[in-house]
């Protein structure tokens, strides 16, 4: 057995990444190739946090677009893993990530709803400005018992560090993680409080029931 294919027991490595899309409304001056009814130019991508390079363990990414697009299955073999297109409608894109052969892992797929139109309280304003619309999702690849080769690749450079601060360029950071953690902790505390109250009530009722029984 070569060292490459042996798996490291009890080991788990995770790598964060971001996937999503950006969309910008098309202006008046645009190339005549684009069909007249297309209103937006959008880019769907998969990239690492902090500008990290995923191609060390990601061999290729296949974006499956809507059937009406020619060659709707776009396979990207090298970074940046993204597809730029024009269109008018929002639809679900499936993103299938294939890993390098050293990993001996099967592909994973995730789904992303292409967002073109702004949403929220400033929707109208953003529409009129022609601002870029982004929709991104943070996720992590979790490798359980990776092969040695994959392990070597993944530990060549530290890649699991998140940027500290949140900013417009960096939507996912340690700060936002902590915010979420805090939210969850607060909720947990509230729930515990409720549980405590209910258990007290339960004991009281049990005592009451025991008192009534002998009657």
């Amino acid at each position: 057995m070569s060292s490459g294919s042996k798996r490291l027991k009890n080991l788990q490595i995770c790598r964060p990444f971001v996937y999503g899309n950006m969309a910008v409304p098309l202006k008046e001056d645009r190339s005549p190739d684009i069909p007249a009814d297309h209103t937006h130019s959008w880019t769907v991508f998969l990239k690492g946090v902090n500008g990290d390079d995923l191609s060390s363990f990601v061999k290729r990414v296949v974006f499956k677009l809507h059937e009406t697009y020619p060659n709707s299955s776009r396979s990207i073999e090298e970074p940046p893993f993204e597809v730029t297109e024009t269109g008018w409608g929002e639809f679900e894109i499936s993103v299938r990530v294939y890993f390098v052969p050293e990993a001996s892992e099967k592909n994973v797929v995730m789904y992303h709803h292409l967002k073109l139109h702004p949403y929220g309280p400033e929707a109208e304003q953003q529409k009129s400005e022609g601002a870029t619309v982004t929709s991104m999702q943070y996720d992590e690849f979790v490798f359980n018992e990776p092969t040695e080769a994959l392990f070597e690749i993944l530990t060549k450079k530290s890649g699991a560090v998140l940027p500290q601060q949140k900013s417009t360029l960096v939507p996912f950071s340690v700060q936002s993680e902590n915010e979420e953690l805090d939210r969850l902790s607060d909720a947990h505390v509230k729930v515990q409080e409720n549980i405590r109250r209910l258990t007290e009530r339960m004991h009281a009722l049990e005592r009451e029931k025991a008192a009534l029984r002998p009657l």
Partner: protein, 479 residues
């Protein structure tokens, strides 16, 4: 009623001579009848039979036949044989008057009031309250008025002789006397003739079983029923409804109680727990819990080693194995009492007890061969930077962290989701990192526990209410 019946009743001559008349039986339309166009379609839709009800639009009156000579009407005298006198009346008859019997005479069917001789009376009909004369009078009246009791009772005017007390007979008295006499006569005649009753006789006998008190009561009830005021009627309806509702609710209560009892009794304790009271037994118990927990979660690796644990125990394996058991046992005991939260500890402790050779607690993992390799590449303090972590049992493969958030049963899931919404947590995590996912899982478990506790509280509440209302009922009954 066909026209033939009507003609028979009114004794009208039939229009067509008997020989030519088609059989009055209902005829089904014969097949092979030529039907065109719409009639054929209709037939195919309706089937062979004509519809049950046909609306006959009355056409114009028949054209009067001027040629026929009008039949004369004759003022004819007639006699009614049903009458006892020879009264002769007249009526108009069309055409030639026939000498048939007056057609309405046959409706004069009298009631069969029995007659009895003096011997029969003396034998069985003698009664202290009734004299023979009065009984005869009663029977005569019955015969005259065709057993119409109201009329009889109205006309009843018996003039008693001097030595008899005056008679005040109610309707029930009269009826009772009459039916009693009839029954006694029937019995007497049957015994005399020796022949047994026909079923029809038996019917008659049973029908004449008159119970005066019951009849009086029945009439009183009816009287009362009729004379209720609308308010009373409404109240009675309400009471009936309430009674029915109470019945249903009490039935439901009984059912619920049965269910609860069944639920409470369901986990049957098979064996005694004495075997689990020794330290050895405790470790065995921990092993069993561990095994069942794993079987539930991983659905894979059967821990045969768990059963082998207590056997291997007394044998001090490696120095690790030897020192561990004592330290582990109080841990296990504590873990068992902690229940849910202690499974992880039990897992580790149990694992340590059952696998003496390759130790598997977290610190020991770090010393394993794998970790040594890792340490070569990754400086040990910086593991999180590389996203490296150690776990007990891993399913080989790669996945997205967002996909591994555990799901519950759909009904429970909706409740949990609504509670999360209340608490202000979005259903999809913004940043599913390891820490965040862990905490989210913990939150879900806590919410689950909350829901369970609430269910228990509701059940107990209900039981207490039932007990208090039951006791109140008993106390009021006792009073």
């Amino acid at each position: 009623m066909s026209s033939a019946d009507i003609r028979d009743m009114l004794d009208l001559p039939s229009p067509v001579p008997a020989a030519n008349r088609p059989p009055p039986a209902k005829r089904i339309k014969t097949d092979g009848k030529k039907l065109d166009g719409i009639h054929r379609e209709l037939h195919n839709l309706l089937g062979e039979n004509t519809p049950a009800v046909t609306v006959m639009q009355s056409k114009f009156k028949e054209k009067p036949n001027w040629m026929q000579k009008p039949s004369p009407w004759v003022w004819t005298p007639f006699k009614n044989p049903a009458r006892k006198d020879d009264l002769e009346l007249h009526h108009w008859v069309r055409g030639v008057p026939s000498n048939d019997e007056y057609p309405f005479a046959k409706f004069n069917k009298p009631v069969d009031v029995p007659t009895f001789s003096k011997e029969e009376y003396d034998k069985c009909l003698a009664d202290t309250a009734w004299t023979s004369r009065e009984t005869d009078y009663l029977f005569d009246l019955c015969r005259d008025y065709d057993l119409r009791w109201l009329v009889i009772q109205d006309r009843y005017d018996y003039k008693p002789e001097e030595n008899e007390p005056p008679s005040m007979r109610t309707l029930e008295d009269l009826k009772e006397r009459y039916y009693f006499c009839c029954r006694k006569l029937m019995e007497l005649r049957r015994d005399a003739s020796g022949a047994d009753w026909t079923p029809r006789d038996l019917e008659l006998y049973n029908a004449m079983n008159f119970n005066k008190d019951k009849e009086i009561m029945r009439k009183q009830y009816l009287e009362r029923l009729l004379s209720r005021s609308p308010a009373e009627i409404a109240e009675e309806e309400r009471l009936i409804l309430e009674y029915r509702r109470l019945q249903e609710s009490s039935k439901k209560l009984v059912q619920d109680r049965e269910e609860l009892l069944r639920l409470l009794e369901s986990p049957q304790t098979a064996n005694s727990f004495a075997q689990y009271q020794s330290p050895q037994g405790l470790s065995q118990l921990a092993g069993n819990i561990l095994a069942s927990d794993k079987n539930r979660r991983r659905k894979g690796a059967p821990e045969a080693a768990a059963q082998g644990g207590p056997v291997a125990r007394p044998v001090p394996g490696t120095p690790n194995g030897g020192t561990l058991p004592q330290a582990v046992t109080p841990q296990q005991a504590a873990a068992v009492q902690n229940g849910v939260h202690g499974t992880k500890q039990v897992q580790q402790a149990g694992r340590a007890a059952t696998q003496p050779a390759p130790a598997v607690s977290k610190t020991e993992l770090a010393q394993s061969a794998t970790a040594k390799k890792v340490a070569k590449r990754v400086p040990p303090g910086q593991e999180t930077q590389y996203g490296v972590s150690y776990h007990d049992k891993l399913v080989q493969g790669v996945y997205l962290r967002s996909t591994k958030i555990s799901t519950l049963k759909p009904t429970v899931q909706t409740k949990v989701a609504s509670i999360l919404a209340e608490l202000g947590i979005a259903p999809k995590l913004a940043m599913p990192t390891a820490k965040v996912c862990e905490r989210y899982e913990a939150l879900q478990q806590a919410i689950n526990l909350l829901i369970e506790t609430k269910k228990q509280v509701d059940k107990l509440d209900h039981e207490v209410k039932v007990s208090t209302s039951g006791n109140a009922g008993l106390q009021s009954d006792a009073k």
